[in-house]
């Protein structure tokens, strides 16, 4: 539980990028699918709560980066998200940004001797 909350702290800042990046690969996903995908890929290290995920999805939709379509599955309405053209562009830019940021963080966190090497 403790580790989960700390990871949540970092996830919050990168959630948008994670979602965009996933959708860029998968084309069309629904909310639960995204959480499962993230959980699977990270081996459970990052668990997205729906309380965090859905606001981000809605915000991206409102910004015009995502479009939704509702499909009825098993008597329930399932909302699928997919990227728009500007969404694709945003996904690319954000992923690049995050990668550079991660590299920078890695440099920061590495022992000083390694970093100066």
């Amino acid at each position: 539980m403790d580790t989960n909350t700390t990871s949540n702290e970092y996830v919050r800042g990168t959630l948008k990028t994670i979602v965009l990046n996933l959708l860029a690969e998968e084309k069309r996903m629904y909310g639960y699918e995204i959480t499962q995908e993230v959980k699977e890929r990270t081996g459970g290290a990052i668990a997205l709560t729906f309380g965090a995920l859905y606001p981000v999805l809605h915000k991206l939709e409102q910004e015009g980066l995502l479009v939704t379509e509702s499909v009825e599955v098993d008597g329930r309405l399932r909302k699928y998200y997919s990227l728009t053209t500007p969404g694709n562009e945003a996904a690319r830019v954000k992923t690049d940004d995050l990668e550079r940021f991660v590299d920078a963080i890695r440099l920061l966190l590495a022992p000083k001797s390694l970093a100066t090497e």
Binding site: T49, F50, Y54, P55, H58, D74, R76, K79
Partner: protein, 342 residues
């Protein structure tokens, strides 16, 4: 994968509703939680266990935060009107009016400007569409006058007196003659003798006339017995001639007259302003004493030119009178006076 039964989904839905999740989010979250529940069932959990687990993750507080965040997101799209009318009676009409205010204003402005321009340009447009009448166009003005037609009262025709039996003169039968062989000629049928015709006229039959008249005299024309005295118009003292043997002339000749006119004639300002040019034909009488009288304009051009011409003619000194057989006489004289702008 195990499917959740309807009543289980209903259970979840009711829970979410009870937690105060906004209706817009409900289907999505329901689907999410249902998926999660199915996953847990798949893992071998009982539904009750799975449900309690779900309730644990989706506790009312989390759901409330979700709803609030969603509302905030929607609020960004809301206009001021939506905020003002939040929780008020929107169907009353004011909301619709406010919402449509911008488009209404735009439309009315457009219409107003168009209408105004149309009004302003109307005279121009009209002038373009209706050609201006040419200067030498002839127009007729027809005036309609109601004519009071009264049936003409014709006096009843004077009854014509039936002609009186005309006096019938004596006639003698004047037989017609047939050409016959000699032996068939009847002696009696002889033409009337001169003696017979002395007191009778030749006629078809011999009739004893009813008149004693012998001679037929045409009735004498009854000339009205005038008084025998013609009313003669009093002869004018002096006859005014139009043509005489020796025409009247300005003393000093035409050149002197032209000089006089040039000196005295003023171009009327009214005419010069209106750019009026032309001839004024003035008629006057040169008396036997050479005096000028009865000045009048025969044909003028108006704009004060006629009056000016008359004034100058009246100013002229006495002329040399016209003469007829040696005697000075009154002569009517016509003089054109030219008004010309430089």
């Amino acid at each position: 994968m195990k499917r959740l039964q309807e009543n289980k989904i209903e259970l979840l839905s009711n829970y979410l509703k009870k937690s105060g999740l906004s209706a817009e989010l409900l289907p999505e979250i329901l689907d999410h939680l249902a998926c999660e529940a199915e996953e847990r069932l798949w893992d071998g959990d009982s539904f009750e266990h799975a449900f309690s687990g779900i309730v644990e993750t989706a506790d009312p507080e989390t759901l409330h935060v979700l709803s609030v965040e969603h509302n905030h997101l929607l609020a960004m799209e809301k206009t001021l009107n939506d905020i003002v009318f939040e929780g008020r009676n929107k169907s009353y009409g004011a909301y619709q009016l406010r919402k449509g205010y911008n488009s209404t204003m735009q439309r009315s402005l457009l219409l107003g400007v168009t209408f105004f321009l149309l009004i302003m340009l109307l005279p121009n447009l009209y002038a373009r569409l209706v050609p201006e009448p040419e200067k030498d166009d002839i127009g007729f003005q027809v005036e309609l006058i109601t004519v009071d037609v009264k049936p003409e009262v014709t006096p009843p025709p004077v009854p014509v007196e039936p002609p009186k039996a005309e006096p019938q003169p004596n006639t003698v039968k004047s037989p017609s003659f047939d050409v016959l062989p000699d032996n068939m000629v009847v002696e009696e049928a002889t033409p009337p003798t001169v003696d017979d015709l002395e007191h009778a006229l030749p006629g078809e039959k011999t009739i004893e006339g009813n008149s004693d008249m012998m001679d037929i005299v045409p009735p004498a024309a009854e000339a009205p017995a005038g008084k025998g005295k013609a009313v003669e118009a009093e002869a004018p003292k002096e006859e005014t001639f139009l043509v005489v043997e020796q025409a009247p002339a300005y003393l000093g000749g035409n050149a002197a007259m032209a000089e006089f006119l040039r000196k005295n004639l003023k171009y009327p300002s009214q005419a010069s302003r209106a750019n009026i040019q032309g001839r004024v034909f003035v008629s006057f009488i040169v008396g036997s004493d050479g005096k000028i009288e009865d000045v009048k304009t025969l044909k003028g051009i108006g704009f004060g030119c006629d009056e000016e011409a008359e004034r100058v003619i009246k100013l002229m000194p006495n002329w040399k009178a016209g003469r007829q057989s040696g005697n000075p006489v009154r002569v009517r004289f016509n003089l054109p006076i030219v008004f010309q702008l430089d």
